[in-house]
């Protein structure tokens, strides 16, 4: 059952990302990405991280992608933007992809043989909250400052100048 779910979700995620690469329409791209992020939330749930799975679906597939769709609607490019006409960028991206795959496989090779611990992970919302407010308290506060800075920055950037 677990294997079936894993392969289903993995195939859906990779398929959605491939669809995003192939599709030319920005709105469809955003929808494909929502599918990919929702499936990734399922993968997180398979990895015994229920809280992160829910956060992934609510914040990523919900809030962030709605932001993207909002911007796509505001920009409203009628005819989709065709893929790169210059062939060399595609070849260059393939070369980069191969190099990246080799490099990443080499770097995570040591983690392949890690055993999966059978102990129950204490990672429910209660445990994460306790950790967040004790060990990671400073990080949490710094993140809140970052969020405020991003909020103010976005408003200041997009605000139209008033005519004098």
């Amino acid at each position: 059952m677990g294997y079936f779910l894993f392969f289903l979700l993995a195939a859906l995620t990779v398929g959605a990302v491939l669809g995003m690469i192939i599709s030319k329409n920005q709105a469809y791209n955003a929808i494909f990405l929502i599918l990919a992020f929702a499936c990734m939330g399922g993968l997180f749930a398979l990895l015994e991280a229920p809280f992160i799975a829910v956060v992934q679906i609510i914040i990523y597939a919900g809030a962030i992608m709605v932001l993207f769709i909002f911007v796509v609607m505001m920009i409203n490019v009628r005819s989709g933007i065709p893929a790169e006409k210059k062939k060399w960028t595609i070849y260059l991206s393939l070369v980069i992809a191969v190099v990246l795959i080799i490099e990443l496989i080499l770097s995570i090779k040591g983690a392949f043989t890690l055993p999966v611990s059978t102990a129950i992970i204490k990672a429910g919302p209660t445990d994460l909250g306790r950790l967040l407010f004790t060990k990671y308290l400073y990080h949490f506060e710094i993140t809140s400052i970052l969020i405020i800075a991003a909020l103010v920055g976005a408003i200041v950037l997009v605000k139209k100048k008033e005519k004098e």
Binding site: V17, M20, A49, Y60, V71, V77, I90, Y136
Partner: protein, 100 residues
């Protein structure tokens, strides 16, 4: 229990697909989406290794990554909107003000 390396390989595949999408696509919004894919691939690796190390710290880091990604999306989309308002284009090759 699904082995760790399945998830790690899926994470590598997603990261590379995100990188390819970044280079192949030409509009800024979609390129921004591919950055989000790469961030998510990193999240998947973090949660996988958190399970195999039997600790919740990896999940906390993913929590922070998601928060920072939200902030980054807000700022990045604001900048894209500003570029569109001034130049009437969102093709990345049209933005070449600093090209020598």
């Amino acid at each position: 229990m699904i082995p760790t390396n399945y998830f790690l390989i899926l994470s590598v595949v997603l990261f590379v697909l995100g990188a390819i999408a970044f280079f192949v696509k030409r509009d800024l919004v979609t390129q921004f989406m591919s950055i989000e894919i790469m961030l998510n691939a990193a999240n998947l690796a973090f949660i996988t290794l958190a399970r195999s190390a039997n600790s919740a710290d990896g999940q906390i880091i993913v929590f922070f990554i998601i928060t920072v990604a939200a902030a980054e999306a807000a700022i990045g989309l604001a900048i894209i909107l500003l570029i569109f308002r001034q130049k009437k284009t969102i093709k990345s090759e049209d933005i070449k003000l600093m090209k020598g």
